[in-house]
């Protein structure tokens, strides 16, 4: 069973929270730390974060549900954000999205049966100069072609096995 956070991390966050005038400023750091450990943020993760920060759970939930890079539902090991904003759209973003869906056999918002990939549309990754683009986990990929995408997927599959 994966843990939300290690005990020493929880202690470190608590210590830091005590020193801050407004502990809630750590909410994103905490949610990301939980996500790094657990893969996503379950309800218990929101409650843990609220407990560490000394705020009601709803205040953590408000932030957690606002950002699309905080996952409040289970995602695959490699969540893939596909940009569907205007620059990527002009440079073939739709083909990229269609190609990925076809290669992985899933639709946007779904996870592959092996639990490796989740496809998520996103409105802009800030990489308009390198459109079309995607983001896998925290890694950004730009100037994409269908071939390039296949290589990325193959590499990630290898990484997962190794």
């Amino acid at each position: 069973m994966k843990k939300l956070l290690l005990k020493k991390e929880i202690d470190a966050f608590r210590k830091k929270a005590q020193k801050l005038e407004h502990p809630r400023e750590m909410v994103i750091d905490l949610l990301r730390a939980i996500q790094d450990h657990f893969g996503w943020v379950p309800d218990a993760g929101v409650e843990l974060a609220a407990d560490i920060l000394g705020v009601p759970p709803i205040e953590v939930e408000e932030v957690a549900t606002f950002y699309d890079k905080i996952y409040r539902q289970k995602v695959g090991r490699y969540p893939i954000h596909i940009c569907d904003s205007i620059c990527c759209w002009t440079r073939g973003g739709e083909e990229i999205a269609a190609h990925l869906q076809q290669q992985l056999g899933i639709k946007l918002g779904q996870t592959t049966p092996d639990g490796l990939f989740t496809l998520l549309p996103t409105c802009c990754l800030g990489g308009c100069g390198r459109a079309p683009s995607i983001m896998v986990g925290k890694r950004f990929y730009g100037h994409l072609t269908c071939d390039g995408l296949d290589q990325i997927i193959a590499r990630l599959r290898e990484e997962a096995v190794g």
Binding site: D43, I58, F66
Partner: protein, 789 residues
């Protein structure tokens, strides 16, 4: 003050007002959602667009955000702003379902009105609408998120204004959701305000879902009877059933907010056991027969034993007019002046509060505008919930709030709490210059511009309020230090005014016990519940030759009365209450009395019996009964004019209208020089303090079935250090021995309460109901259940 022109009409408004305020003052409708005068403007809904023709910022602007300027010219009907508002309305409506025919808000929906007002009548959008899964928010409120237009008024009401911590806004864009982290009842004591503030049907009254259209309701402006604050309400009912209570709008008192006790605790009016027929020794009789018999017996009694053998007991629940007529009745029969509260210490507190010069009393508005608040012996959420809201508004504006109280206080805002025992508080007030804390607070109050002292009549009693009044006089620097006394019932203050003229050293229970008193008339009160020693009172009542009771609650005393006459509730007759700051406020009848048709018809058609009066319509108002006994033929207005002649301090009484802001009493003249010696226990002796519970301690909550979900479990509270010294653990079962009996209760640790004391909340329907709040703490002993065995 700036003068401006809106749609060719000229108006002068206060500096800082918005263009929207000015338009509203002129009666011009500018559609808006997110703006509310208590919440302020945030310019989120974009609905209130107008065109500024002359002014420093010209063109299309949001009228709620633009401050008025002198010489400004505004048009609400320029083509551009009309088109803008229509377009915004159309956007809002793209996701709003067309379910008005099945929506409870229909007919009183701001969205309906504003959409039509903005000129958007025909939908063009034919696509799918966004949908949500609703949450279960508990027994009071139903959520229907599909109707949401994202105006954010609910979070601003619940979190910002009321200080609730379990409600918020989640998601972004099309997924924005207003609700709780997880399903569950809303925790705030002010959650019901969501119903009033949501401009559409997202949050509606759960108990009355699908029952009544707003236009079918009988409604009238009224006053909340649950505590002494006298919040303005707007109750509505239908088919002889009181169905809902909404907030009224008195900017000097509760503004637009009421507590959940006021809103959801009104079904005592429809209580299935409510006594609706006259009874003689428990047997149902004709109303007029019972009344004539009462008169006959009273006359016989007075003839045989003289007026001294009769006592009269009024109540903080009864209207001021009824209490005053009781005084006239005493004069007619030569009986001593009536008592106005069965609880002697509360009655003294009310007399003391009524003797405070009118100009020194603070209103809730003054409290919201205060710059330093010292609360002495008050638990707002239990004794006067809307006071807690006013404190929060003061705190939001940066006001410091200091509380001296033995209870583990909770407030929806930051405050400093000094947990002192009741006795050390009273002792401190009796010699404030010797008390370091009080002396430093006195200096700070003296240096403040708008300081207010809040004093709890229940904990401090009359003696404590007297000391507090002296303390406030020593705090008057360049400005007066105002006092906000918190009393027991909606008309406690009125009883205080009337009681001040009587001999204050009398005591009802001693009168009854010494054997000379043979008859007692109780008007809308149950002394066996409300007296500080209920058991002793019950015994004393049983010795009476005859006991006459006028009431509308199913109390034990009603059941044991020799002559019982049912009265109308405040929702069924007109009258006046005088609230804790001496504000006279009138209420109008909402309904005619009668058994609700939903009961008589068991949900179907009402029974086809042909009678001239509906079943259960016998109750008469207490005023009517007393006037009959007095042969007084005045109508209510005539009665009020008569009162004004007798009591000049109530000179505005005959100018009152239900639904207005009420009128303050003038100074009553004589200052009460009454003082009572109370024996305050020493520190170190273990004592138990019975306190008002948040829900259930006032008699109306006690008989409101809808509130039972909020009643606490009975328990006895202790400070953890105190418990550790005695070897107790949290949650342990203990035996509490007191003079009123012994109780098996779980022990609950409360770290924020005073040391050396135990606390029990007085809860109806539990063994703890024999305690009455409002007295001094009682000696007690505590054992663990095992040791006791």
């Amino acid at each position: 003050m700036p003068t401006l022109t809106i749609d060719n009409q000229i108006i002068t408004v206060a500096e800082g007002a918005s263009v929207l305020d000015a338009a509203v003052a002129l009666g011009i409708v500018v559609p808006h959602f997110c703006y509310h005068h208590t919440l302020g403007a945030i310019g989120a809904c974009r609905q209130c667009a107008v065109t500024i023709l002359e002014g420093s910022q010209k063109g299309l602007k949001m009228s709620c955000l633009i401050a008025v300027e002198d010489g400004m010219v505004v048009s609400t009907c320029e083509e551009e702003s009309v088109a803008f508002r229509g377009q915004v309305s159309e956007w809002l409506m793209t996701n709003h379902p067309h379910d008005c025919p099945v929506c409870d808000e229909g007919g009183e929906c701001q969205l309906q009105e504003m959409t039509i007002g903005a000129g958007h009548g025909i939908r063009r959008y034919r696509g799918n609408k966004r949908t949500y899964t609703n949450q279960d928010l508990g027994p009071f409120i139903t959520q229907e998120m599909n109707r949401c237009i994202q105006c954010y008024r609910c979070v601003r009401t619940y979190k910002d204004y009321c200080g609730g911590e379990d409600f918020g806004v989640m998601g972004s864009q099309q997924r924005v959701f207003f609700g709780r982290f997880k399903d569950g009842p809303l925790e705030s004591d002010f959650s019901g305000n969501l119903i009033d503030f949501c401009p559409t049907g997202v949050f509606t009254d759960r108990a009355n879902r699908f029952r009544t259209r707003s236009w079918d309701l009988q409604q009238a402006p009224s006053i909340c009877p649950h505590c002494s604050l006298g919040c303005s309400t707007f109750p509505g009912g239908r088919y002889q059933e009181l169905q809902r209570v909404r907030s009224g709008g008195n900017r000097l008192t509760n503004d637009s907010f009421i507590c959940d006790r006021a809103r959801f605790g009104s079904d005592w009016n429809n209580h299935p056991k409510r006594p609706r027929e006259a009874r003689i020794s428990g047997e149902k009789v004709e109303f007029s027969y019972a009344l004539e018999l009462l008169e006959e017996r009273l006359e016989k009694l007075v003839e045989e034993y003289g007026g001294e053998a009769l006592r009269l007991l009024g109540s903080p629940r009864a209207s001021f007019e009824a209490n005053l007529l009781l005084k006239n009745l005493a004069e007619k029969y030569g009986a001593p002046a009536p008592y106005y509260d069965a609880h002697p210490r509360r009655a003294f507190a009310a007399r003391m509060a009524a003797s405070i010069p009118s100009g020194q009393l603070a209103s809730l508005k003054q409290l919201r505008d205060s710059d330093l608040i010292l609360m002495v012996g008050v638990d707002p959420l239990a004794e006067a919930p809307v006071l807690a809201l006013a404190l929060r508004q003061a705190a939001r504006a940066g006001t410091r709030i200091v509380a001296l109280d033995p209870r583990p206080l909770e407030l929806p805002c930051d405050f400093e709490h000094h947990p002192l025992t009741q006795e050390s508080l009273l002792r401190g007030l009796s010699a404030p210059e010797e008390n370091e804390l009080l002396e430093s607070l006195r200096q700070q109050l003296e240096a403040s511009q708008r300081p207010v002292l809040v004093g709890g009549g229940e904990l401090l009693g009359g003696e404590g309020l007297r000391l507090l009044l002296h303390f406030s006089e020593s705090c008057c620097g360049s400005h007066d230090c105002l006092i906000f006394p918190v009393l027991h019932g909606p008309n406690s203050f009125g009883g205080g005014i009337l009681g001040a003229t009587g001999d204050s050293n009398r005591n009802l229970i001693e009168d009854l016990e010494n054997g000379n008193v043979r008859a007692l008339i109780c008007v809308e009160t149950d002394p066996a519940i409300e007296h500080s020693e209920p058991g002793r009172m019950q015994l004393a009542l049983s010795r009476l030759e005859f006991l006459a009771v006028f009431d509308h609650l199913p109390t034990n005393t009603v059941a044991t009365a020799d002559i019982f006459l049912p009265t109308r509730t405040i929702y069924e007759c007109a009258g006046t209450f005088i609230n804790n700051e001496g504000r006279m406020q009138a209420f109008d009848p909402v309904l005619e009395p009668g058994i609700p048709i939903v009961v008589t018809g068991s949900g179907g058609h009402p029974p086809r019996q042909f009678e001239t009066t509906p079943p259960g319509s016998a109750p008469r108002s207490a005023v009517h009964l007393l006037q009959w006994l007095l042969k007084d033929r005045n109508d209510l207005f005539g009665l009020r004019r008569q009162i004004v002649k007798e009591l000049p301090c109530l000179r505005d009484l005959d100018r009152l209208e239900a639904g207005d802001n009420g009128r303050r009493i003038a100074d009553c003249g004589d200052k009460l020089e009454e003082s009572r010696t109370e024996i305050w226990a020493q520190e170190g002796e273990l004592q138990v303090l019975p306190i008002t519970a948040r829900y259930g301690s006032d008699l109306y909550s006690r008989w409101s079935q809808s509130l039972t979900s909020r009643f606490e479990e009975p328990s006895v509270w202790i400070h953890p250090v105190e418990a550790a010294e005695r070897g107790f653990v949290n949650g342990q079962k203990v035996v509490l021995r007191t003079v009123v009996g012994h109780f098996h209760l779980p022990l609950v640790f409360k770290a924020k309460m005073a040391r050396g004391r135990l606390i029990v909340p007085c809860l109806p329907g539990t063994p703890l109901e024999v305690f009455t709040p409002g007295g001094l703490s009682l000696p007690c002993k505590i054992y663990s259940e095992v040791d006791n065995a």
